[in-house]
């Protein structure tokens, strides 16, 4: 016995309301006859029947909304179409629209700490505590290199600074310097007591952020001397001879943690105040150690200064960096007895040395250069 069901009358129709029967139980029906009217969201639609037979029991009360497929009436004398056994649809396993690549397992995240994904991943692998690191990435973010350095204990070259390459470069420059430049050497002891006293008085009134180091005074004295004696501030080209530099850019040798040396230039050092020089020094040393020096800073020093700092020996004789023509060395400041007006006094003394290119200048001029530096250091407030 065929059951007349609520038909699907549109793609987005889920249910319909039977509002009127046009055929009543006992009436004959033929394929194509309109047997009922169904109300849908879009309006009333006349519904046809697709079988021949006689209208039987009507199963759904009028004005009741029923889902598509609900039997509405029985039709006697008509057979339910034997459903051709439709094959079970192939297992329609929904393949993901585009196979998204499997994201690697995320390392345990460290709250609040700004670290790049690459840094987090390596830190997790190498068991490095991110909290202990100082980030050199954008906005102080800890980047992979910071973790690499921490993990490998500083032996690793700074990003951008390859220690082996640097060592090779220094070796080549020094060897060439020794081969080509006829060095002569001079030294003098300079009493820094006045300078250091002035510095101590100046720093006492300052917080650590603004305090000065002795290095700024020695660097400034070299810059002013180089300004006065251009024969020590320029470049020597075997073909064209010596060319004095137009400005004074002091190459300040900086030791890199884990070995290595680089001498970034402090531009126009002669025209900087001590405060400006201190700020420049802090910036340059920090960036030198992180391998983020600009190439311009690496290449245009006009004269170099090398210093042993607090824990070195009395005197340091440098090797000139070609194509420069001079290098000034400062040993460690020590307490030494020196004669002052026929009396022996203990003073803070530093030995300053000058190594210079004999093709450009000679000892006499070199001595006046060193003497002028020493004089400048006696009046620190004027530096």
């Amino acid at each position: 016995m065929y059951r007349f069901r609520m038909p699907s009358l549109g793609a987005d129709m889920e249910a319909g309301t039977l509002v009127e029967w046009l055929k009543h139980p006992g009436d004959p029906v033929h394929r194509g006859d309109i047997v009922a009217v169904v109300e849908t969201d879009k309006g009333a639609i006349e519904v046809e029947i697709f079988v021949d037979g006689t209208m039987g029991r009507q199963l759904v009360p009028l004005d009741s909304k029923v889902p598509v497929g609900t039997p509405l009436a029985e039709i006697e004398g008509a057979e339910e179409e034997k459903e051709a056994k439709a094959p079970a649809p192939a297992a329609a396993v929904p393949a993901p629209a585009t196979p998204s690549p499997k994201p690697a397992a995320a390392p345990a995240s460290v709250q609040g700490l700004r670290a790049s994904p690459a840094a987090r991943k390596l830190a997790a692998q190498k068991d490095v505590d991110l909290a202990a690191l100082k980030g050199t990435g954008p906005g102080g973010t800890i980047v992979l290199h910071d973790v690499e350095r921490a993990a490998a204990g500083a032996k690793l070259p700074h990003r951008g600074l390859d220690l082996e390459k640097m060592r090779a470069a220094i070796a080549a420059a020094m060897a060439r310097s020794k081969r080509e430049i006829p060095h002569y050497y001079l030294a003098t002891d300079i009493d820094l007591s006045a300078a250091l006293a002035w510095l101590e008085k100046t720093n006492a009134a300052r917080t650590p952020e603004q305090r000065l180091l002795p290095a700024v005074m020695t660097l400034k004295s070299v810059a002013l001397a180089a300004k006065k004696y251009p024969a020590f501030n320029g470049f020597y080209d075997p073909a064209k001879g010596f060319a004095p530099a137009k400005a004074v850019h002091i190459g300040n040798a900086v030791a890199i943690r884990g070995g290595g040396l680089v001498s970034p230039a402090i531009h126009d050092c002669d025209r900087l105040t001590l405060d400006q020089l201190m700020e420049k020094l802090r910036d340059l040393v920090a960036r030198a150690r992180e391998g983020r020096l600009r190439s311009s800073e690496m290449s245009d020093a006009t004269v170099t200064v090398s210093s042993l700092g607090e824990r070195g020996v009395e005197s340091l004789y440098g090797i000139i960096y070609p194509p420069q023509v001079a290098i000034v060395g400062f040993g460690t400041v020590t307490r030494r007895p020196i004669a002052v007006d026929e009396k022996l006094e203990i003073r803070s003394v530093v030995t300053a040395t000058l190594a210079a290119d004999h093709r450009v200048s000679d000892g006499h001029l070199g001595a006046r250069f060193l003497k002028h530096m020493a004089a400048l250091l006696q009046e620190p407030e004027k530096l």
Partner: protein, 325 residues
């Protein structure tokens, strides 16, 4: 053709070479014949090949693009020139609903071996309606291939490979490149169209770009080198399919990505590339992916505003520095 040539010359030689080699190839578009092409790419071709194969069309972008599709389905290899991507909006229905769809929808019964060439991009003060850069839209559509030749070799070599492709290929020629001059080998010929190219090696940051923005990226990389920053420049060449392999290899090396895209950033090709980098190379990143795109405004007419709206070298340098910290 060799020695000093322009990008425009390279495009013309590509068309002429294709038409000489394959009788099925013909050029159809507005003013491609007597006028010689809005950007003079097809100058002289009408005299050489005649009106049958160099067909000026009425201003009916949907019409003649549809004709190109039908002709391609029936044995020809048409090159349809839509003067600029701005007018291609009128042909979107034919390109998206017909060209890109028919092979798949017909169960592989019919293909559309059609090439559509369009000028794109801003920089000539043509104002909002003539300065669009919408190649990213088309790169959204499965069934299409989308190319952006940025060098003389690619302008000369991509067309033949595209014509041989059994499916529709769109070629976007940036308006600011037409006058680019350089040397091109006499025997320069067809090039592959499925791979990106590394235009400059580098290890600190990957500059990912295409088409008209390539010269700016190369310029930026040069300036960065002076500051000790080694930038790698990737010329995408194809926007669909994107060459994920080359992009990710570079980003995994440099850990930083800056994408330069003249489209508007929302829903742009740069957004797609950025998403793919996050999906495939997240754990190599040391900084968020940066994007340098056009300002999200209709491109203004006055020179100073247009310059300010478009991605420029200073913005690229700033974006790179942003990733370096």
């Amino acid at each position: 053709m060799s020695g000093e040539v322009t990008y425009r010359d390279a495009c013309r030689e590509a068309i002429r070479d294709a038409m000489k080699r394959d009788p099925r190839v013909f050029l159809m578009g507005e003013d491609v014949g007597h006028y010689g092409g809005c950007y003079a790419v097809s100058k002289g071709l009408l005299d050489e090949f005649g009106p049958e194969r160099i067909r000026d069309t009425p201003l009916s972008e949907s019409g003649f693009t549809g004709l190109g599709i039908g002709a391609a389905m029936n044995g020809m290899r048409p090159i349809v020139e839509i003067m600029t991507v701005n007018f291609a909006l009128l042909a979107l229905d034919q390109i998206v609903n017909n060209a890109a769809t028919i092979r798949h929808m017909s169960g592989n019964q019919f293909g559309v071996p059609l090439v559509v060439r369009m000028a794109t991009g801003a920089g000539k003060q043509l104002a909002a309606q003539h300065s669009h850069s919408l190649e990213g839209w088309f790169a959204h559509i499965p069934g299409l291939k989308v190319l952006a030749p940025a060098t003389l070799e690619d302008a000369r070599g991509m067309l033949w490979t595209a014509l041989e492709d059994p499916d529709p290929v769109l070629i976007f020629e940036h308006v600011m490149l037409y006058n680019m001059t350089g040397s091109l080998a006499a025997e320069a010929g067809a090039v592959a169209i499925d791979k990106a190219a590394i235009r400059r090696e580098g290890k600190d940051v990957s500059l990912i770009t295409y088409g008209g923005s390539l010269p700016k990226a190369v310029d930026a990389a040069g300036q960065l080198a002076k500051d000790g920053v080694s930038a790698e420049v990737i010329d995408l060449r194809t926007l669909r399919p994107l060459d994920d392999e080359t992009i990710m290899a570079s980003v995994r090396k440099t850990r930083r990505a800056v994408i330069v895209d003249e489209g508007w950033r929302s829903g742009s090709i740069s957004a797609e590339i950025s998403a793919r980098i996050l999906e495939q190379a997240l754990w190599s990143l040391d900084a968020p992916v940066a994007r340098v795109c056009s300002a999200e405004i209709p491109i203004p007419y006055p020179h100073h505003l247009e310059e300010a709206a478009l991605p420029q070298v200073p913005a690229i340098l700033a974006a790179v520095r942003g990733t370096l910290g």
